[in-house]
């Protein structure tokens, strides 16, 4: 029974990884036509260096993801402090309002942003995508930092204040240091959410200004080239690295709590 269970589990994992692994192998294959045997080659990666639009889109993706990460982490941390350390009327409603950006299909959120931004003159482009990405990442930041706050004792800050510390000083010296791993994890998470976001970026991009996923999508629709395998492989590597760092951070936090 246990052996069968494990065999099935390995088969499932193989199903999850097989197409991705094949794509990575093909990115290093000299032939464009899936010809076997595989002849190792870096030509598709070299071709990327001359692909102007793709490089520009990559730069946009990194800029938007960095800005999203900073803004969403700052705003989300402040909101998490209020939602977890204060009691006020409408608290439950505010928590519920964090759900729509996560739960409503991105197609609907994305087209709604397009309609509103175009109508009000905010327009499309990098700034519009940034506004959208921050909104999508914010609820996750509030949840991650909020979870971190719940594991910290709240009376320490009050003790510091009763001993004469100002609220701001108490926050920076007592609450912030142990909260830092959560904040860093949330920032990484926001970065990954923005980097991977396709649907909202797609509706808010203009022909000249797009992000990496949008550019990949339009090259897939224009027709397949092995360069897409190569850029996808790099992209895959970067997001895997981000997740592993995130997992490591949460794990460290978990271990410290258990101690």
């Amino acid at each position: 029974m246990i052996a069968a269970g494990r065999a099935y589990l390995f088969a499932t994992i193989a199903f999850l990884y097989l197409p991705i692994a094949l794509m990575v192998v093909m990115a290093f294959n000299d032939s464009a036509l899936y010809a076997l045997p595989i002849e190792p080659s870096l030509r598709w990666f070299e071709a990327l260096a001359d692909n102007g639009p793709l490089l520009a889109a990559t730069r946009n993706s990194v800029v938007i993801a960095s800005a999203t990460s900073v803004i969403a982490t700052a705003l989300g941390t402040l909101a998490a402090l209020a939602l977890n350390r204060r009691r006020f009327r409408g608290q439950t409603l505010l928590k519920v309002l964090l759900l729509p950006p996560i739960a409503i299909p991105w197609l609907i959120t994305g087209t709604a942003m397009l309609v509103f931004f175009f109508w009000t003159g905010i327009g499309r482009g990098i700034h519009a995508m940034m506004i959208g990405h921050v909104a999508l990442a914010l609820p996750y930041v509030v949840l991650i930092v909020g979870t971190g706050l719940q594991t910290l004792r709240s009376d320490l800050e009050e003790a510091a204040m009763s001993l004469g510390s100002t609220p701001l000083h108490a926050f920076f010296t007592v609450t912030l240091p142990p909260l830092l791993p959560s904040i860093v994890a949330a920032a990484l998470f926001a970065f990954a959410v923005s980097l991977d976001q396709f649907v909202v970026s797609y509706f808010l991009s203009t022909p000249g200004v797009s992000t990496l996923p949008v550019e990949i999508y339009s090259s897939i629709r224009k027709g397949f080239t092995p360069e897409i395998n190569a850029i996808s492989t790099i992209f895959l590597g970067v997001s895997t690295l981000l997740v592993l760092i995130f997992a490591q951070l949460s794990d460290l936090r978990g271990r410290r709590e258990r101690r």
Partner: protein, 293 residues
Amino acid sequence: MLKGGNIGSASRRGWTTAALLTPAYGWLMLAVFLPLGAMLFFSVLKAAPFGNRPLQLTLDNYLAFFRRPYLIDVAWTSIQIGLWTTGLCVLLGLPAALALARATKGSFRQVLFLLVILPFWTNGLVRIFSWTTVLQEGGVLDQGLHLVAPSAPAMSLLYSFPAIIIGLVHAYLPYMILTCYLSAAAIEDASLEAARSLGARSLVIFWKIVLPLCLPGLVSGSILIFVPVIGSFMEPRILGGRVGVTMGTVIEDQFVQAFNWPLGAALSFIMLAVVLAIFAVSSRVLSRYTGPQ
């Protein structure tokens, strides 16, 4: 609270609470709630209010379903895709979650768990695209088939209904494994032992104990899958080609190609209504099973 509540400090606390919350919720207002409101407004307009066009209110966009019957077909295709994907994820994901919770332990389990959830943090577009490598004519599946049967005709699954389902199941299976695993890991060995020592057979144990206890995981996994799947447009486009006309692609067309924003807005809101109905029904089911404890 250590400090006594004189009115001055209470109102100052109120102000700081507001100051902490305003940036985040102001942002959500600008980027999510006002846009949804604007789209609701657009959905009852005859034409988008750009240039000097007069504002004319109409319900035509919502009645389009009755006037253009192909939209019903398209909606049905989307629902079929949603049901097939969710159903297959249940069939494939529940056993995997049970195996993860029951047949592994310790750091071995942690590694496998990470392996299962890792793919869903990689880009969805890239994962869908990777299936074209496998499914197209001359792709891996085709070549594999010809290794076994050299005389078989060329085979391409790409641009077909099964291709869309395969890609979507691959994309969303980790959600189902994750939610079911959380339920399955909470089942106590003692209750299974008790049932077994009282003579219950494996099938009975599965049906009477394991399945009901996994139900919350199954339901929340199904919502997490069904909702984004009926709103998907990139997956049917890449893997379905001309076959892949869904609500998602029709809505995308209204905004990107046809520029009929009011119709696109109305279709989006119909989809949103379906999504909200699903949330309402399933939260009832969930609270019935997790409530009385």
